[in-house]
C-alpha cells in the first residue's frame, strides 16, 4: 500500500493532447511541463500537430497556449486553422491562445561580436505572462540557424532556452525539420531529451503513407510501433490499431446471408454476427451480387451497412444490382446504407486503413463490405495487405461488426492459393467458380470453410435471376458435375433414357402376354388334336370290338353248324 502510494506520486504527470489516438499511444499525453520534440520532413503535419495541441489544450483542458511561429505570420496561422474549424481569432481574443510571429531577416542581418537570445526569452516570457500560458509551441525553432550567425552561440542559447522553459513548467512542443540520418537538421534533439515524436510522410509505389512514431519518452512506457495517422478535415488523428489483440468476445448470433439456400448450406442459419466472410472468385462470378444480397438482408433487418467499393462507383453498383432485382436505393435514402468509393491507389494502405476505421467509428455500422480487397494488392505487397486487413479485422471483431470481403482471383490460378495469404483471417469462405462445360460458363458456389458450423460440402450452381440470386442443385452423375445447359441436356437425356426403358418394359410385358396367348392357343390346338385322335382311336377300338364280336359270332355260327348244341345261344347273338 505504501509502495503504491509512493509510486503514484512519482508517476510522470502528462498533458493530454486530445489528438485522437495519440494519448493512447503515449499513455496520457506529452510530458507535462517538459519539452517535446516533434520532427519530420516537409509537409508531414508538424505545425498542425502543434496547433491542435494548443487549441485542444485551450478549449478542453483550460491550459492557455502560446504559439511562437518562425515561419508563418499570425494571419497565415489563423487562416490555416479555419480550414480545420478552429477559430483562432476568438481564442486569441479570449486570451486562450497567443500567436506570435518571429521574423528572421535572412541575410539582412549583420553581426558583430557576442550576442545572446535574451530578446527571444523576453518575448516568450511576455507571451506566457500575458495569458498565463501552460503550453508553448516553437515552430520551427531551427529557422534561427539560418537567420542568426555563430551556431555555437545559438546552440548554447537554445540549450538555455529549453532549460528555462522547463523551469517555467510549461509543456513545450518544439518542431524541427528532419535531417539526413539525424532526427533534426541541426541536431537539436540533443537538447530535448524528454520526448521525441517522429512524423513520417513517405511514398511507396506512388502512394503516400503518413506514420507517427514515439522515438523516446523518458520516464514513461509508450507504444513503439509506427502508427498510421491521418490529416483530414477533422485534423490530426492517430490510429493505434496495432495494439488490438485477440481478446474480443464472439457472438453466437446468426444472421441471414439473404439467400435462403445459402443459409441452408451454412447449417441453416447463415453467417455468425461479427464474423469475417470472404467471397472469392474470378471476374464476373457474382461476388458483388452476393455482397449486395447480404446488404439487402442486413438493411431489411434495420442494420446499418457501410459499403467500401474500390472498383465501381456507387451509382454504377446500384444500377447493376437493380438488374438482378436488388434495389439498394431505398436503403441509401433512409441512411441505412452508405457507400464509400475510392480507388485503392488513391492513397496508401495505412491511410486506407485509417480512413476506414475513422469512417466506421463515425458511422457505426453493423455490417462492413469491402469490395474487393485484393484491389490493394499492387505488386508483391501481400504481407502489407494482410497486416492491414488483420488490423481491420481485429478492429471490426472488437466492435462486433460483420465483415464481408470480396476477392477477385485471376483465372487460371488456383483460387485457394491466390487468397491463401488472408485465409487465416477468414471465418467463412465462399468460393465462386466458373464451371466451363459444353461451350458455356456457369457459376458454381461452395463453402470452402466456415468456422464453428457444420456447413454443406456440396457445390451449388447459382443463377443471377431478375429476382436475386438463386441456388440450384448441380447435376452430379456418372459424367461428373454438370451445370447450365449441359445439366439440362443431361437431364433431358436421362429423361429420354427413362422413357425408353419404360417403353421397353411395356414391350416386354406385351411380348410375354403374346407368348402366353400363343402357348394357350397351342394348348387348345393340342387338346383338340388329342380329342380328334381320341375319337379316332375310340372309333378304331369300337370297330375292333365289333370285329371281335363278329369273329365270336361267326365262330359260334360255325360251331352251331358243326354241332348244333349251341343253337339257341348263337341265334340270340345273331339277332343283336
Amino acid at each position: 500500500m505504501k509502495n503504491k502510494a509512493k509510486f503514484q506520486r512519482h508517476a510522470l504527470p502528462k498533458s493530454p493532447t486530445s489528438i485522437q489516438g495519440l494519448d493512447e499511444i503515449t499513455g496520457g499525453g506529452l510530458p507535462k511541463g517538459r519539452p517535446t520534440l516533434v520532427c519530420g520532413g516537409a509537409g508531414c503535419g508538424k505545425t498542425l500537430f502543434a496547433m491542435e495541441f494548443l487549441v485542444y489544450g485551450a478549449r478542453q483542458h483550460n491550459e492557455p497556449g502560446v504559439f511562437i511561429s518562425f515561419e508563418e505570420t499570425e494571419q497565415e496561422l489563423t487562416a490555416n486553422a479555419v480550414s480545420l474549424g478552429f477559430d483562432l481569432d476568438d481564442l486569441v481574443e479570449r486570451k486562450k491562445i497567443w500567436l506570435e510571429h518571429i521574423h528572421i531577416e535572412q541575410g539582412e542581418i549583420e553581426h558583430s561580436g557576442n550576442y545572446d537570445l535574451e530578446g527571444l526569452f523576453i518575448r516568450i516570457h511576455h507571451a506566457i505572462e500575458s495569458i498565463g500560458a501552460k503550453r508553448v509551441v516553437l515552430d520551427t525553432l531551427e529557422s534561427l540557424f539560418s537567420g542568426l550567425p555563430n551556431p555555437y552561440i545559438l546552440r548554447s542559447e537554445l540549450r538555455r532556452l529549453l532549460r528555462w522553459l522547463k523551469k517555467k513548467g510549461v509543456t513545450t512542443i518544439i518542431t524541427a525539420e528532419r535531417g539526413e540520418g539525424t532526427l533534426t537538421r541541426n541536431g537539436i534533439e540533443e537538447f530535448v531529451s524528454d520526448c521525441v515524436i517522429l512524423l513520417d510522410h513517405r511514398v511507396n509505389d506512388q502512394t503516400s503513407i503518413r506514420q507517427l512514431r514515439v522515438v523516446k519518452y523518458r520516464g514513461s512506457t509508450h507504444g513503439t510501433n509506427e502508427y498510421p495517422f491521418l490529416i483530414d478535415e477533422d485534423g490530426f488523428s492517430v490510429l493505434p490499431v496495432t495494439s488490438l489483440g485477440l481478446n474480443y468476445s464472439s457472438s453466437l448470433e446468426r444472421i441471414s446471408t439473404g439467400i435462403p439456400r445459402l443459409d441452408t448450406m451454412l447449417s441453416g442459419k447463415g453467417y455468425f454476427r461479427g464474423s469475417t466472410v470472404l467471397v472469392s472468385g474470378t471476374a464476373g462470378t457474382g461476388k458483388t451480387s452476393i455482397a449486395s444480397q447480404f446488404v439487402e438482408a442486413a438493411c431489411t433487418r434495420k442494420e446499418r451497412v457501410l459499403f467500401f467499393t474500390f472498383e465501381e462507383s456507387p451509382s454504377q453498383l446500384v444500377r447493376n444490382m437493380c438488374s438482378i432485382g436488388i434495389d439498394l436505393n431505398p436503403w441509401l435514402k433512409t441512411g441505412l446504407l452508405q457507400f464509400h468509393a475510392t480507388r485503392p491507389t488513391h492513397y496508401g494502405l495505412e491511410t486506407h486503413l485509417a480512413t476506414s476505421i475513422k469512417m466506421i467509428n463515425d458511422y457505426e455500422p453493423n455490417v462492413v463490405i469491402l469490395d474487393p480487397i485484393n484491389a490493394f494488392v499492387i505488386g508483391e505487397n501481400h504481407t502489407e495487405v494482410k497486416i492491414m486487413l488483420l488490423r481491420l479485422v481485429d478492429f471490426l471483431k472488437m466492435k462486433r461488426i460483420t465483415a464481408f470481403f470480396t476477392s477477385l482471383t485471376s483465372a487460371g490460378e488456383n483460387m485457394e492459393i491466390t487468397d491463401i495469404y488472408i485465409s487465416s483471417l477468414i471465418d467463412t469462405w465462399l468460393l465462386l467458380r466458373d464451371i466451363e462445360i459444353g461451350g458455356e460458363r456457369n457459376r458454381g458456389l461452395y463453402v470452402l470453410k466456415s468456422r464453428g458450423m457444420a456447413h454443406s460440402n456440396q457445390i451449388r450452381e447459382f443463377k443471377l435471376t431478375d429476382h436475386g440470386i438463386e441456388l440450384l442443385d448441380v447435376y452430379v452423375g456418372l459424367e461428373g458435375v454438370l451445370t447450365g445447359s449441359a445439366r439440362i441436356a443431361q437431364e433431358t437425356k436421362d429423361e429420354a433414357e427413362q422413357l425408353l426403358r419404360q417403353q421397353e418394359i411395356v414391350r416386354k410385358q406385351f411380348a410375354l402376354e403374346r407368348k402366353r396367348e400363343a402357348m394357350e392357343a397351342q394348348i387348345l390346338m393340342l387338346r383338340s388334336e388329342y380329342e380328334a385322335e381320341e375319337s379316332e382311336v375310340l372309333k378304331v377300338i369300337g370297330i375292333d370290338k365289333m370285329r371281335i364280336d363278329r369273329f365270336t359270332h361267326n365262330n359260334e355260327k360255325m360251331a352251331k353248324s358243326r354241332k348244333g348244341d349251341v343253337d339257341i345261344k348263337s341265334t340270340g347273338t345273331n339277332k343283336t
Binding site: 506570435e100 518571429i102 521574423h103 528572421i104 531577416e105 539582412e108 542581418i109 549583420e110 553581426h111 558583430s112 561580436g113 557576442n114 550576442y115 545572446d116 537570445l117 535574451e118 530578446g119 527571444l120 526569452f121 523576453i122 518575448r123 516570457h125 511576455h126 534561427l144 542568426l148 550567425p149
Partner: protein, 110 residues
C-alpha cells in the same frame, strides 16, 4: 553611470523633438535587456564608432526590453544586443556587442 546619463540625454532629445531630424542626422536604436556586460560593451562600442565617424550628427536611443517587452515583438528583436539603424534608410540590423568594429562599420554602411 556616466553612460547611463548620456544615454538618457540622447533618449530625451529624441523624445522632445522627434520630427526635427536633420537629413544627415543618423538615428540609431540599441535594444538591450537590462544592464548586462554585453549591453554595456555594445553601447560603449557604439559611442566609440559614432564619435569617430559621425561626430555631432547622430542620436542613440537605448531601449531596455525588460521594461518594454512589447517593443521586442513590434520590432522583431530576438537577439540581444541588437543595433537598428532607423535612419538613414534602409533600416539595418546588427546583432552583437559590436566588438568587431570592422563588421559593425560594414553593417552600418560607414
Amino acid at each position: 553611470m556616466e553612460i547611463k546619463q548620456e544615454e538618457k540625454a540622447h533618449t530625451n532629445r529624441l523624445k522632445e523633438q522627434p520630427k526635427k531630424i536633420n537629413d544627415d542626422e543618423w538615428v540609431l536604436r540599441l535594444y538591450v535587456a537590462g544592464q548586462t556586460p554585453k549591453s554595456v560593451t555594445a553601447l560603449n562600442n557604439l559611442i566609440l564608432i559614432c564619435e569617430e565617424q559621425l561626430r555631432g550628427k547622430y542620436q542613440i536611443e537605448v531601449i531596455d526590453l525588460l521594461e518594454k517587452p512589447q517593443l521586442a515583438r513590434d520590432n522583431q528583436i530576438i537577439a540581444i544586443p541588437t543595433l537598428v539603424r532607423k535612419f538613414p534608410m534602409p533600416v539595418k540590423k546588427i546583432i552583437g556587442d559590436l566588438s568587431n568594429i570592422e563588421r559593425a562599420l560594414v553593417g552600418l554602411d560607414l
